[in-house]
Symmetry: C2
Subunit: 338 residues, 2 copies
Amino acid sequence: MNLLTPPEGRSIDVVCVGMAIVDVLAHAEDTFLESHAMIKGSMDLIDTERALSVYAAMPPAIEVSGGSAANTAAGLASFGGAVAFVGKVAEDELGAVFAHDIRAAGVAFDIEPLSGSEAAAGTARCLILVTPDAQRTMNTYLGVAASLRPIDIDGALIASAKVLYIEGYLWDDPGAKDVIRTAIAAAREAGTRVSFTLSDGFCVDRHRAEFLELIAGDVDILFANESEICSLYETAEFEEAVSKVVGHVAVACLTRSEHGSIILTADGDRIEIPAVPATLVDTTGAGDLYAAGFLSGWTTGQSLAESGRMGSLAAGEVISHLGARPQVSLNELWKDHR
Amino acid sequence: MNLLTPPEGRSIDVVCVGMAIVDVLAHAEDTFLESHAMIKGSMDLIDTERALSVYAAMPPAIEVSGGSAANTAAGLASFGGAVAFVGKVAEDELGAVFAHDIRAAGVAFDIEPLSGSEAAAGTARCLILVTPDAQRTMNTYLGVAASLRPIDIDGALIASAKVLYIEGYLWDDPGAKDVIRTAIAAAREAGTRVSFTLSDGFCVDRHRAEFLELIAGDVDILFANESEICSLYETAEFEEAVSKVVGHVAVACLTRSEHGSIILTADGDRIEIPAVPATLVDTTGAGDLYAAGFLSGWTTGQSLAESGRMGSLAAGEVISHLGARPQVSLNELWKDHR
């Protein structure tokens, strides 16, 4: 077997790059989604006007820091890992909330907030409706999160990490493509492994060609759920998507909600990981935390199977409450679980 | 028996007046309280500097609209009541969160946010540490919440209500005393009943003489927990406090956490109400929601005992999750419970 292993001599485990977002979560009935033309389970990008109208119609909400890669960073830190997050907030109250929460979680976050006229769009927020089936439907107002630029990428930071983790959502900002190229180039040069999440089926639809190219050339560890990997290969058959992804990346982690996950290696190994039973409250962040658990294991030398089980545990914790960040120490939870 | 009854011919049930606050809630160990010189279970007023230092030290948090009387208003609306809230926010992001949440809860909230230089102090926030015993310790930065003025009091609104509900915390703003006098005078003139909560033991310490005078002359329905009523009468003996409060108000509702509550009438009746069993997660808002339940019953012609049971139910719901606003319809919960 020729399994990819983490590089030696790194001071931090993972650098996560993504959209810095504060989630605004509320419970809602399915009829709310219908009357506002929302597609259940998806992430929709919205403009200021729609953000105002959806928010005005939403039930009372709670605010919790979110952002896909940022959630993964918080999860990695909760397992005890050394993690940095790269993303953009504005110098406003939600920006202060985001910065506080990710630092308090133990994640290094050194990107200066935008201020003055550059900050006019405000810190990103994601209006999330959680239906009685615990499914989350997301409406993202990107604000300044889409203002990440290559100058924000610190090559030395990426070179000091075992893994660079990038979220697919970044492609929704046309200007962020150079950021991704810059980050990947820094990783390639330093031997830092590149990990990528497909993020969302509709996001895959919007950027399929680029994602396929990226996966074919630059990704070592891929994360995707069933609908995302099927969208990538434009098939309704999960096993067909499985057969297509093998060989393109060193490791592919495909999550399947309550059916657990499948870890595929370039050599054709297939490891099935069960889900960890949980009282389902809100699925927001399930995929993000699975990635956090898997990378926590993988960067510390655990087997793929053990890493996958850590992913399942972290996903199980985060779906048992409102919000996409862990509410307990995942390190302690894992000790008790194992 | 000469029980106080709600006045006839009113278009709304309760007008709640209080501090408009967004809660910032985090789990913390007891050692956190000790190292920051916090007194467990109390509400401490903090300035900007302390707010920044406590927030910087706090674990990752969630933001949920709060404020004592505002929580009561949200609870009353959740039972199906017609409610208005009077309090002050700034034209900032937390102010928008507060205004959205209380309106989305079904409460009328028509006070204009402060803007420009008047809004510099920002919307109030309460930094709340929830310890493993589920007890909440509050650090309140009042910001513009302490800028309520008599001009904000709409006499016609109060005259249209069955009950005016005032929180003791208001006394912590020297300028708010005229607000309270104005509101009570409007209530007295219109025959609107006056209801008052002692809010917090230390708050009672700060304003004992004024609270005693208010209770002796102007309060029809009093809410207090054990430590507050004991603080009011400067005794360690609950029964001594009970004997002292009888006769001063038409109805006194004294809450005792897991031991339920005691409802006392001016005629000397004493009704004991059991607590509703709940999985204790966070006690924030327990007293506020008890008041909401009691007033929901009382304003709709329920008996004192039935009103008290509605209070217990609402308190039981709010302590079973993080945050001080109900997460389900209390009206539906009450139907199922009864």
